[in-house]
């Protein structure tokens, strides 16, 4: 029989303090019962002798120093796991909220997980084709990668993510796939948008959803991605599934962390975020990957809205240092009516280099994407010059770049939300655009490839 502690010594925001507690372990979970029968769950976050500080997941509303009975359950925060989770909806703390009843667990796991030994990892190499040219061609997603979408409020990141999920394909593979969706502090509409989209594409039975909506408690928000990733790891490494984890919105998560940190009275670092924001984010993002000897994989596509569209803000900044690249959405493209509004220059996939080219996609893919990047970078220079001296005054080559830039955005980047382009189609469009530039300007492509794929002027004119 476990001891029940009656009363508290202090309440501070989401934190409660208990004195005289014995035999409590660090990060242990406790149940708090109010006099009126309400139950809350909490977790030990600091122990100093017999003084224990507990964070209460559901918040401390209605708690007083007298009306709480605290009982420690003797184990850390765990969630029940089973393959039956597919198709179910859970709260941010991992409790079923879809009125389908309790889950009969196959096992329970600590939501904090453990670090994967770098020696046991398998280096990811197989591409996931999303059917979106700007991603497949320029920043290819690799299975086992963590590739966030950097967006801003009001941009079409949800549509892009949903399209990626709908169209995601892997060549020569028929293993089971699953989607784990973690909503953190997003509005109900956003969650509903994804649910409907999964339903329409017939994927709903393969989706596990964890919902912490904007009005839900912030402490629960801190648990949400951990529950989701624990479920993802379980499905991937126990049931050998390929799991795609969508987490939105990481900005809300970080803000919850900041709120929690300041209520603990911690010393803030940049913009008030706690000094351990990097380690904390890493403990989430690093849970992507593949393991040697098991066929499953965890691929993450976190979505974050950059406050004020500022990529140097601590949240996108620290994320970019941990994740293996990023897909950046751009407001000016969005305003020009270009969907998906992917800004290719700052977008990057770090794992792409080993997953494309001969034997993976097509031999010309690395050189082609490299050249498209370089040429599009020249477009930016030409544009800034044109804004000063006017387009008519530009040199011939700069005029060609201006035209190339327009075509690139309208033909390569832009595509309808329901169109899924094969990688060959994407590469084809790429060559078609490059061939409008003179051969000498293509300095990233070696002579052999150029000869094979460059479409000579006349032919291009006919095809164009």
């Amino acid at each position: 029989m476990r001891v029940e502690y009656v009363g508290l010594s202090e309440i501070n925001g989401p934190l409660i303090v208990l004195d005289g507690a014995k035999d409590v372990t660090f990060e242990e979970v406790c149940e708090i019962t109010l006099d009126n029968g309400q139950k809350r769950t909490g977790r030990v976050i600091l122990i100093d002798g017999e003084r224990v500080v507990i964070q209460v997941f559901e918040g401390t509303r209605g708690l007083s120093l007298e009306n709480a009975h605290t009982r420690f359950v003797g184990r850390p925060m765990e969630i029940p796991l089973s393959k039956e989770m597919l198709g179910r909806i859970f709260s941010g703390a991992g409790r079923p909220i879809d009125s389908l009843g309790k889950l009969y667990p196959d096992e329970r796991r600590n939501i904090n997980g453990s670090a994967i030994n770098p020696v046991s990892r398998k280096y990811p190499r197989s591409c996931i084709f999303t059917g979106i040219s700007a991603i497949d061609g320029m920043s290819t997603l690799i299975r086992g990668q963590k590739l966030p979408i950097f967006s801003g409020s009001g941009m079409s990141h949800n549509e892009v993510a949903a399209q990626m999920v709908r169209q995601a394909k892997v060549q020569d593979d028929d293993s089971e796939f699953a989607i784990v969706f973690a909503a953190m502090g997003v509005k109900n509409d956003t969650a509903e948008f994804f649910r409907r989209d999964f339903e329409e594409s017939g994927a709903l039975q393969r989706v596990v959803m964890f919902m912490n909506l904007a009005s839900d408690p912030i402490i629960e928000r801190i648990l949400t991605p951990r529950c989701a990733l624990t479920a993802a790891e379980y499905l991937a490494f126990k049931h050998n599934m390929h799991v795609l984890v969508i987490m939105t919105d990481m900005t809300s998560y970080c803000e919850a962390l900041r709120e929690f940190s300041s209520s603990k009275g911690e010393i803030p670092s940049r913009k008030g975020y706690p000094g351990y924001l990097y380690s904390d984010l890493a403990s989430l993002y690093e849970r992507a990957g593949m393991i040697e000897g098991t066929p499953g994989s965890v691929t993450q596509v976190p979505i974050l809205t950059m406050p004020n569209d500022d990529i140097t803000h601590p949240i996108p900044d620290l994320t970019g240092y941990i994740t293996e690249g990023q897909i950046v959405l751009d407001r000016s493209l969005e305003q020009k009516g270009i969907y998906p509004p992917i800004s290719v220059l700052p977008s990057l996939s770090r794992l792409m280099k080993d997953g494309i080219g001969k034997g993976y996609t097509r031999e010309d893919h690395p050189a082609l994407s490299n050249q498209l990047f370089a040429s599009y970078a020249n477009v930016q220079e030409a544009r800034s010059l044109a804004s000063v001296i006017g387009e008519e005054e530009l040199t011939d080559i700069d005029k060609k770049y201006m035209a190339f830039g327009r075509d690139f955005e309208n033909l390569f980047v832009k595509q309808p939300p329901e169109e899924s382009r094969s990688i060959e189609q994407t590469l084809e469009i790429g060559w078609h655009l490059l061939s409008k530039l003179p051969k000498e300007a293509l300095d990233r492509i070696d002579a052999g490839l150029l000869k094979k794929y460059y479409i000579e002027e006349e032919e291009n004119a006919i095809r164009g």
Binding site: E27, I47, D48, S114, I116, K122, I389
Partner: protein, 589 residues
């Protein structure tokens, strides 16, 4: 001490307070709790000590015992370190995998050296020999590339007795005994313990006169680092810090590479591990892993071990330096280390200085970078430790405390530039903001190896690039058409240098590593084209005519087209330039 005990009093993340019957000593290593987690004493107060724990502390509770090891945090040094991958506190990750599986468990006490591995040891001393600290008493091949010299621990000296014959031994076998002048006997094994926070002693520092040749053009030519020097690679994310570090680890001419993945990505460490066991070292044709030690504290591994990983790495480097090797340390990234300091400092409730970093950040950085150098060891061999540290400045802003403080202690600065990276110009080292202070010291080495040419052409290249950057300011405002022909030529020639020389493709077999002889010849050809074109322009022939010859574009491609082992083609190129340009002049007149 026998009956005295210590126990846990409080827990706050990785920081644990310990009380008990006696006071712990500062920086001693302890085992915390029933699971015996690794910890280090970081503060001693009147009635308790503060311990930072190198493993996840969840599940600990007050009252659990704490065991004092009585010694500072140390690493076991000896044969078998090479080709291994360690965590931040020198536990071999492959042994951890054997014990705990795919996910890293806690409380594993595994020696850095495999106790069962047998080495073929050649004993270098005989009974009655006198040994001083640092002297070599045995040798063994620890990998196909590295001859491991077993050194007497620097604090010991005396006469050897009971020397065993050469043969097969394990690291902990006693191969001789050492009797000190006071008569105490110490058994000599193949290994020794060394506290990681204490620099290993040496006889004297020597001037740094040799460059670390890396095969990377912009580094070897424009911004070299000396063997024994320090360099920093700051850059925003995606600018190619890690690829630059990988390239240096692969191609630099150090004897031994120690790669510290400090708070970086797990997949990257896997990549290094996979790639280095496949890639062959150009000098020896043996796998690169045979000369590499990896230390991995990925960003989700415990933060306190991240702080220690840097010291573990440099201690190993100094150990090999004492054997007479040239060691290069690649630390990716020192910002994560500084952030670990900040995080622990916050938990200790210390007063923060700039941006929440502790006030002792600069002194810790200084201590670390000062452990680099070109030294004469206690046994009179010469060896060096070169430190190349990546910095991940917040928001890519170089004015933040880690970059600024690091700049005071390093002398080569390779500034990575976001806009170059966006244009996929790699390595994205900005040639205007980067610098090296070593060139004057290395001048004589370049002169002895290549004659005066190297310095001459280097400064020609540098000044062309400088002039170009000035001209580009004008071009940005009014377009390039208005420039006079001689200035157009500068812009055009600088473009050749930027694309054909500074830009280097890490994924191209020819271009990934370029011998310094080819670098020199490439510079000479490019400058030759510039100077020869100048003569042409002096005859009032427009630059566009020279451009039409295709020479500029051809030169941009010589990095791919001319193999590294057939440099005479570069001389042919020079002839071709002469012929074509002479023809232009002839046709014009």
């Amino acid at each position: 001490m026998d009956n005295k005990s210590l126990f846990i009093r409080g827990i706050n993340g990785p920081v644990v307070t310990v009380s008990g019957d006696y006071s712990l000593s500062m920086l001693n290593m302890v085992y915390v709790g029933d699971e015996r987690l690794f910890g280090e004493v970081v503060g001693v107060k009147s009635d308790h000590a503060i311990v930072q724990v190198y493993e996840d502390t969840s599940g600990l509770k007050p009252g659990e015992p704490v065991y004092d090891t009585g010694a500072p945090m140390s690493v076991k040094l000896g044969p078998g370190l090479m080709s291994n991958i360690y965590d931040g506190i020198a536990r071999p990750l492959s042994a951890i995998e054997k014990q705990s599986g795919v996910f890293i468990a806690r409380g594993l006490n595994i020696s850095s050296l495999d106790p069962d591995r047998v080495f073929n040891v050649e004993i270098k001393v005989k009974n009655g020999d006198r040994l001083n600290g640092g002297d070599i008493y045995a040798e063994t091949m620890e990998s196909e590339l590295i001859l491991h010299k077993v050194l007497l621990s620097p604090q010991l000296s005396g006469t050897v007795q009971n020397v065993k014959p050469s043969g097969s031994y394990k690291v902990d076998d006693t191969i001789a005994e050492l009797v000190s002048d006071t008569g105490t006997m110490t058994p000599l094994t193949l290994c020794q313990l060394w506290p990681i926070r204490m620099p290993r002693p040496y006889k004297t520092r020597l001037p740094m006169i040799r460059p670390l040749i890396t095969g990377q053009r912009i580094i070897d030519t424009l911004f070299p680092v000396a063997k024994g020097g320090c360099a920093a690679v700051p850059g925003p994310f995606g600018a190619g810090k890690t690829i630059t570090q990988h390239q240096l680890a692969k191609w630099s001419d150090a004897d031994i590479i120690i790669y510290i993945g400090c708070g970086e990505r797990g997949n990257e460490m896997t990549e290094v591990l996979e790639e280095f066991s496949k890639l062959l070292d150009p000098k020896s044709n043996k796998p690169m892993l045979d000369r590499t030690i990896l230390i991995a504290n990925t960003s989700n591994m415990p933060v306190a071990a991240r702080e220690a990983s840097i010291y573990t790495g440099i201690t190993m480097a100094e150990y090999y330096r004492d054997m007479g090797y040239h060691v290069a340390i690649l630390a990716d990234s020192t910002s994560r280390w500084a952030e670990a300091l900040r995080e622990i400092s916050g938990r200790l409730e210390e007063m923060p200085a700039e941006e929440g970093y502790p006030a002792y950040l600069p002194s810790r950085l200084a201590e670390f970078y000062e452990r680099a150098g070109y030294m004469q060891g206690l046994n009179d061999t010469e060896g060096s430790v070169t430190i190349i540290g990546a910095i991940s400045p917040q928001g890519g802003d170089f004015s933040e405390p880690v970059t600024q403080n690091t700049k005071r202690f390093i002398r080569t600065f390779w500034a990575l530039d976001r806009s170059l990276a966006y244009a996929r110009h790699f390595p994205a080292i900005n040639w205007i903001t980067s610098y090296t202070e070593y060139f004057s010291m290395l001048d004589s080495w370049y002169e002895n190896s290549f004659g005066p040419d190297f310095s001459i052409y280097r400064s020609k290249i540098a000044s062309l690039l400088q002039e170009e950057s000035k001209l580009l300011e004008i071009v940005k405002l009014i377009g390039s058409d208005v420039l006079p022909d001689d200035q157009k030529l500068i812009v055009e020639s600088a473009r050749v240098i930027r694309l054909g020389f500074l830009q280097q493709n890490a994924y191209n077999d020819t271009d990934t590593y370029v011998p310094i002889e080819k670098q020199l010849k490439m510079m000479m050809v490019m400058i030759h084209l510039y100077e020869k074109s100048k003569e042409v322009i002096a005859k009032n022939i427009p630059v566009s005519r020279i451009k039409d010859t295709g020479l500029f574009d051809e030169l941009i491609r010589i990095k791919y087209d001319i193999p590294n082992d057939n440099l005479s083609l570069l001389d042919d190129m020079k002839k071709k330039i002469n012929e074509k340009l002479d023809e232009l002049i002839k046709n014009n007149s």
